[in-house]
Subunit: 577 residues, 2 copies
C-alpha cells in the first residue's frame, strides 16, 4: 500500500473526506463479536474503512437488510461443475460467494501445470476471487495413469507463485501415514514454502490420524461423523463441512459444532454441479441448513467467512471491518439467507440473482485435444475369469463410497462374464486416455440397474480416464469410440445409436458453455439414463461412475491398472478364490 | 524441517518408533475443542507428535495432572520488572510462561537499536521464548527527548529480522488518527513487511477508533471498559486483557467476554514487577482471576495460549497437538492453577517453582553509561510563576492516568512556588539525561503526600529522563545528583542524606541482579518512602512517578520539554490564567 492510499483510508475513516461509497441503513453482521451493528458502511479504494455515520460520493441504500461478509468456500473443485472459472464466478457470485479456495486437481491431472496456468488466467476474467491450492497428488496414487505427474520439484516451483495459497488435499493419506518418499518430498516442499496443506483423511483415526496431523496437514473435508470431527479438531485440524452435489456431510456434522469449537469449522462444496447451484444455491444453502439445525446465524456466517479466512491466512477479508476488502453480501433475512446484492472489493457485482459484470472468457484451446488412446477395441473388454466367485463393486446410493462385495456369476465358455438379466451386475471398464498405454481394466459393478445400452464418460476422478458401464461389450466400445471422437464429455448409447451426449472439450471434463447449458444437457442425459437405459432411480447415473475410479475413496475401485482395494491400498484379483 | 526429521516425526506419531519423551497419565487440555483428553503425550525433537498410547525412550509420570499448553504473555515490557531477559525467564517460566511477546521500548528509548541487539542476544540465554515487537514510537511523541529516535528507515531494516514479530504498540494514536507523516511512514514500513502492529488507544472511540483500526492496527491492551472492548472487537482488534502491577483491567473486562468473542481476547502483563510475580505469579494469576469471575477454565487457558498464537502468527504453538512445540504446563487443578512442572520444547525446565536450566547472562556493558546531563543545578528547579492560579497534576491512585487539576498556590517574592505544609502539593521535575540538552521542566503535583526529602529515579516511561519530586529544591537536586553519580536507578534522600537506593546500571532502568534482589530493594524503598518521607499509603511511591512523564496516557503529564495535556496533545501553561 502506498502512503497516499493509507492516508486516504485513514482520512476517510476519520470522516475528514467522503468515502467512495457508503452502504446506508444496513444491519451489519459482526462476526468477531457475534453481534449486529446498525449503521452505514464506508468504503474507499475497495476497502471498508469504518461503520458509523459517513458521507459518501456514492451511496447505496441497503433498506435495513443484513450485511454479511462475502462468503468464502473453503474447498471446491471448479471442474466438478463442468464449467470454466469465468462461469463458476457467474454462478456463485449472485449467491454470495466472493472468494473460493479451489483445487484444480481435475484439470491438472489431465493437462499438468499448463492447466494451472490456464485456470489462473481464466480466474482473472471473473470478479469472484478464486484462490488456488496446488494439487498435491497428481496422480492421486501410483496405481493409475493420469495425464500428468506433479513431483516435489514442480510443487516447490509452483508454490513460489503468490496466487497459490497452499498445497491441495493430500489424498494419498496412506502415503503420509506410512511416511513414503512420495509423500515426504511433497510435504517438505510445502513446509519449506510455509504454506498450509489441505487434508483428505476419510475414516482415519487414532495414531494414524496423529501421524497425518503431525505431518503438518491442517484441514479435512472428508469427515462425515461427529466423532471423527471431534478427534480432528483436537489435533488442530479445521473441519471443512461439506455440502456438495454428491456428499452431504454438513447436516451430520452440525451436531458436533459447539461454542468452543465453532471457530475451527468451515463450510465447503467440494463438488457442486450447476443443477445444485441453480436450484439450491451455494453457501447460502449451507447457511440455511445450519440455521435449520439450530445453529446461531452469526456463528454460521462466521463459518462461511472469518473462519475460512483465518484457516487459509487471508488476513484481508472474512469480516466487515476497517481495513478489510469490501466483500459484502446483503441478505433479506437470517433464515432463508436470500442474497439480494453482492459487493466485491466495493463494487456492486450482483443484484437480485443477476451477475452484473460483462462475461469474457480466456482462450482455452491449449486445454483441448486431450485424448491419447492406443489400440482400443471391444476385444479389450473381454474378461478371462478363472472362477465364478468374483469381487463386485457395490454401489452405495447417496455417496461416492462403494462396497467391496462378492457374487457368484455365470461365465461363458471363454471365461468371459455372462450377464444374467435377473441379476443387477454389469461390466465396468476404465480405458486409459492420456499416455497411449493401451490400458483397459474391466471389473463388475452391482446395483447400477442399467438394462440397455451403455454409458461412457471422460470425467473419472481424479485421473479422468474413460469410464464405461453397459450391457454389451459392443455398446460399451461404441460409447467409448464416440466419446473419443467428440473430444470428451458424456455419451449414452443403445444398440449402436447415440441417444444423448454432452461434449466437454476442455480437458474432456469442462464445457465452454454456461452452467444453464450444462444443466440442461445433464437433465436430458439423466432422463435418458433412467428412462431409456433403465438405470435405477436411486442411483445418480453419472456421478456414480465419475468416482468409480478414485482409489482414495473406500472401498473397492477400478483404475486403468486394475481392481483396487482402498482399505488395503493395493490391487486385488477379480476372482475371490 | 529436513525430510529425515519429518519422517521421524510421522513414524513416532504412528507408533512405529518410540518417542523421545512420553508424558504419561495427563488430562490434556484441548484448547481447539474445549474438551479434555486423558492420555499420554508423545514428544520427539521438541514437538508433540500425538496423544494416545505411546512408548517412549524417556517417560514422565504426570500423575493425573492437567496438561495445558505453555502460556503466552501477549504484551509485556521486560524492563518494567527492572531485570534482564535472562532473569525474566527465570521468574516467569516456573509460573507456566513459555513465550512472551515483549516490547523493549524502554531500553530502546535509552540506547536505540543497539539495545534491541542486546535484548535479542540476552534472550538467547533463557529457555523462555522471548519474541520482540519493534518499538514503533521512539520517542513516544515529538514532545520529549529520549536517548534515541527510531525512524521509518530503521523500522524497515529491523523488521527484516525474523526474530522480530511485528511493530510494537503504536502509542502515538493521535498521530495515527490524524494521519501524520510520523505515523504514516512507520505504518507503511510495517505493512510492507507484512507484520502485525500492536495498538495503544486508551479511550479512543467512534470514527477516531475506525481510523486507528483502518490504519491496520490489530490489538489493544489499553482497553479498560466492556464498551470499549466490544467496539474494538467489532473492528477486528484483539483485546489484550491486562493484569499488571499498576493496571488491573482484566477483572473489568471479563464481564465482556462471551462465547462468541472469546477467541479475540488475550491475556497480558504489560508491566509486572518482581514483587507481583513472586507473590501472585504471572498468567497463572490471570487464569485464577478469570475462573473466579466465572469463566470456563479451558476458555481462559485458550486466551493464554491459542488466541495469542493466532494473533501473532505463531503457528507452531498455542495448543498440545501433533506438530506443535512441546511447551506444556502441568497444573494441579483448574481453580488455583498451581503450576507444578513446565516443559519447553520437550525439556523439563521448571519443577515445583524452581527454574532448572543454568542461569548465564550476556555482557551488558554496552548498555551502561547512559547519563548525559548538562549544567544541572538546584537553580533549574525554580519556578517563575505569573499567577497563583496554576494547573496541577492530580494523582489518581491505583492506575497510571492522572487528572488535570487546578489550584491556588502561594508564591514567593521571586515568583517561585512556596510549599504550604497544609496542602498536598509539591514540585515535580523532569531532567533530560540523554542528549545534554540541559532541559529541566518543573510542574506541580497534588496527592503524592510526601512530607520530607525527595525521590529521584531514572525510570520514567518511555523516554526515561530523570524524574524527581520533593519538599525542597535542595533535596530534589541532591537526589538527582546522587542518581547521576550511581549510574541510574532510584534514590530517596532527606536533608542531604541518602536514605535508600537501588542502582539500575543497564540503561538506568534495569538491574543485573535477580528478581528477588530487586524485590528486596523495592520493599526497603517503599518502606522508607512511606515511613520516612511520609508518602501517602494509597499511592505507589515509584510507579506513580514512573508514568508521570508518559505523554500518551491521559490527562496531564510532564516531559523534559514542559507540562503536557494529553487530551489536546499539546503543551499547556503552568498558570491557568
Amino acid at each position: 500500500m502506498t502512503k497516499t492510499a493509507l492516508k486516504k483510508r485513514i482520512d476517510t475513516a476519520a470522516g475528514r473526506i467522503p468515502a467512495d461509497l457508503v452502504i446506508q441503513n444496513a444491519k451489519v453482521i459482526n462476526v468477531y463479536g457475534g453481534t449486529m451493528i446498525e449503521g452505514d458502511i464506508a468504503i474507499t479504494d475497495g476497502c471498508v474503512v469504518g461503520i458509523g455515520a459517513y458521507e459518501g460520493i456514492h451511496t447505496y441504500d441497503a433498506k435495513g437488510k443484513f450485511a454479511a461478509p462475502g462468503f468464502i468456500d473453503s474447498h471446491i473443485h471448479i471442474e466438478s461443475a463442468y464449467v470454466t472459472p469465468e462461469e463458476i464466478g457467474r454462478l456463485l457470485v449472485p449467491r454470495g460467494g466472493t472468494t473460493i479456495i479451489a483445487d484444480p486437481h481435475e484439470i491438472v491431472n489431465v493437462k499438468g501445470l499448463e492447466a494451472l496456468t490456464y485456470m489462473l488466467e481464466a480466474a482473472e476474467e471473473t470478479v469472484l476471487d478464486i484462490r488456488y491450492m496446488l494439487p498435491s497428488c497428481v496422480p492421486a496414487t501410483p496405481f493409475e495413469h493420469a495425464g500428468a505427474s506433479i513431483g516435489a520439484t514442480e510443487i516447490e516451483k509452483a508454490l513460489t507463485d503468490k496466487r497459490i495459497l497452499g498445497l491441495g488435499e493430500f489424498m494419498d493419506f496412506p502415503g503420509v501415514v506410512g511416511a513414503t518418499e512420495f509423500a515426504l518430498d511433497r510435504l517438505i516442499a510445502a513446509h519449506e514454502a510455509g504454506v498450509p496443506i489441505d487434508g483428505h483423511s476419510p475414516g482415519l483415526s487414532g495414531l494414524a490420524l496423529n501421524a497425518y496431523a503431525a505431518a503438518g496437514i491442517s484441514t479435512d473435508h472428508e469427515c462425515t461423523t461427529v466423532e471423527g470431527m471431534q478427534e480432528r479438531i483436537a489435533q488442530g485440524m479445521y473441519i471443512l463441512m461439506r455440502n456438495g452435489s454428491a456428499c452431504h456431510d454438513l447436516e451430520a456434522l452440525l451436531a458436533g459444532v459447539t461454542p468452543e469449537n465453532s471457530t475451527r469449522c468451515l463450510l465447503c462444496s467440494d463438488d457442486r454441479q450447476p443443477k445444485t447451484i441453480l436450484e439450491r444455491g451455494h453457501l447460502d444453502d449451507h447457511l440455511r441448513i445450519c440455521v435449520r439445525h439450530g445453529l446461531d446465524p452469526i456463528t454460521a456466517i462466521r463459518m462461511a467467512t472469518l473462519n475460512a479466512a483465518n484457516c487459509f491466512g487471508l488476513s484481508d477479508r472474512g469480516a466487515i471491518a476497517p481495513g478489510l476488502r469490501a466483500d459484502i453480501v446483503l441478505l433479506d433475512d437470517l433464515t432463508d439467507f436470500r442474497v439480494s446484492q453482492v459487493f466485491i472489493a466495493g463494487e456492486l457485482v450482483a443484484d437480485e440473482g443477476e451477475y452484473l459484470p460483462p462475461v469474457t472468457r480466456r482462450d482455452s484451446s491449449a486445454m483441448e485435444s486431450s485424448f491419447h488412446v492406443k489400440d482400443f477395441s471391444a476385444q479389450k473388454l473381454k474378461l478371462q475369469l478363472n472362477s465364478d466367485k468374483v469381487h463386485v463393486i457395490d454401489i452405495l446410493p447417496g455417496g461416492i463410497a462403494t462396497g467391496k462385495g462378492t457374487a457368484d456369476i455365470k461365465r461363458g465358455p471363454d471365461g468371459d462374464f455372462m450377464r444374467d438379466a435377473a441379476v443387477d451386475i454389469v461390466k465396468l471398464a476404465v480405458v486409459e486416455r492420456h499416455q497411449n498405454t493401451g490400458n483397459v481394466a474391466v471389473a463388475l459393478l452391482r446395483g447400477y440397474g442399467i438394462q440397455a445400452g451403455a454409458v461412457a464418460l471422460s470425467i473419472a476422478h481424479d485421473s479422468h480416464n474413460i469410464i464405461t458401464a453397459g450391457i454389451t461389450d459392443a455398446d460399451m466400445a461404441f460409447a467409448v469410440e464416440t466419446l473419443i471422437a467428440m473430444g470428451g464429455g458424456v455419451v449414452l448409447v443403445k444398440d449402436g445409436v447415440v441417444l444423448e451426449s454432452m461434449p466437454l472439450p476442455i480437458g474432456g471434463i469442462m464445457s465452454k458453455e454456461s452452467g444453464q447449458w450444462v444443466d440442461e444437457r445433464l437433465t436430458a442425459i439423466h432422463e435418458v439414463a433412467h428412462q431409456e437405459l433403465g438405470i435405477s432411480g436411486d442411483v445418480e447415473p453419472l456421478m456414480t461412475l465419475c468416482f468409480m475410479s478414485l482409489p482414495v475413496i473406500p472401498e473397492l475401485k477400478l483404475t486403468d491398472m486394475g481392481l483396487f482395494d482402498v482399505t488395503v491400498f493395493d490391487f486385488v484379483d477379480l476372482e475371490t478364490e
